[in-house]
Symmetry: C2
Subunit: 196 residues, 2 copies
């Protein structure tokens, strides 16, 4: 049993049915509110939408990061699993890296405020940062290593830095039509290429 299984088990295994129901209601409400108002929406709004009290949301999700993680776990997992698949299916490792980065960027820019939240220095958000790193850093490292080995990109860049850079470039990408995060990330990845 890994960390991921243990966390999801904590929900499925909840003893009382009202607790399970409320937790699901909170997840649904959070998902809706995150789309409408971003991941920094007031806790009270989420509790109200779910029809529960404020205490309940804190009992199920002691930190906002845990709620965000619970809401987006499936998508993050899908992104993590896409890495090896792309590597196997793409003509070159660099192509796989590029496609995977696209996936990651798409995920970030469509989740209002998520990229910013991950860089927030408020207490509790290190957890969010850590979760993304746990799940995606190994994948990114694998892709980066493959592309380095194939000689397509410069060696020496830590996957961590690349992911942070990409995350940063996605901040505020919604809400500003003049800014195209995808393009900026593409430029960054282009800068990674070995000058043939």
């Amino acid at each position: 049993m890994n960390d991921s299984d243990r966390r999801t088990a904590s929900m499925a295994g909840s003893k009382r049915k009202d607790a399970r129901r409320n937790q699901q209601a909170l997840l649904d409400a959070a998902a809706t509110i995150f789309v409408a108002s971003g991941v920094e929406a007031p806790v009270r709004d989420i509790a109200a939408k779910a029809g529960v009290g404020i205490g309940t949301i804190y009992r199920h999700f002691p930190t906002r990061a845990e709620l965000i993680i619970a809401v987006y776990r499936h998508q993050v997992d899908a992104c993590a699993e896409a890495g090896p698949a792309l590597l196997a299916a793409s003509p070159t490792p660099h192509a796989a890296l590029a496609q995977w980065v696209d996936l990651f960027v798409d995920f970030l820019v469509t989740k209002h405020g998520l990229a910013a939240a991950m860089r927030s220095d408020s207490a509790g958000f290190e957890t969010l940062h850590a979760y993304f790193l746990d799940r995606l850093l190994p994948v990114c490292t694998q892709l980066l290593d493959a592309a380095t080995t194939s000689g397509e990109i410069h060696p020496g860049l830590e996957a961590y830095q690349l992911m942070r850079g990409i995350g940063n470039l996605c901040i505020g990408a919604d809400a500003d039509p003049r800014y195209d995060a995808r393009r900026m990330v593409a430029l960054l990845v282009a800068g990674l290429r070995q000058p043939h």
Copy 2:
């Protein structure tokens, strides 16, 4: 008289001497506190450090953005003026652009929280964003155009996007030793280069 002169004049021309003294005290206090606690430090702290009441800070600087701008105006102006100078002194436009970007990045990463503040969606921070754009966008555009004309970089990238990208890459650059914003920006600028 341009906008910049008018704004500075609003300080020098303040009629009552206590008002002038307090405004200067606030600027000094803000500069100190910004260094110690970042540009998002509580308004009360700044007022306390300056030895004035809360009302006074709001009278002189109705929005936080105006206070930040007042504190950093000189440095932003210096950065703006460095653009043409670099263009004249550098061997190639691309070298000038690279040096200017370095200047900009240095400024951002040494001002705790400034890059993040510029991307904050709270009301009042559009002013900050707008000020930086007013002062620096023309300079960046000039450098970018020169480098495009000389054939060193791909055409078609708006200076606005480049500046936003750079600003984003600088977010949280302090407080994370594993992340090197300068390197990421260098990568971005490298991605801009015309493939020979």
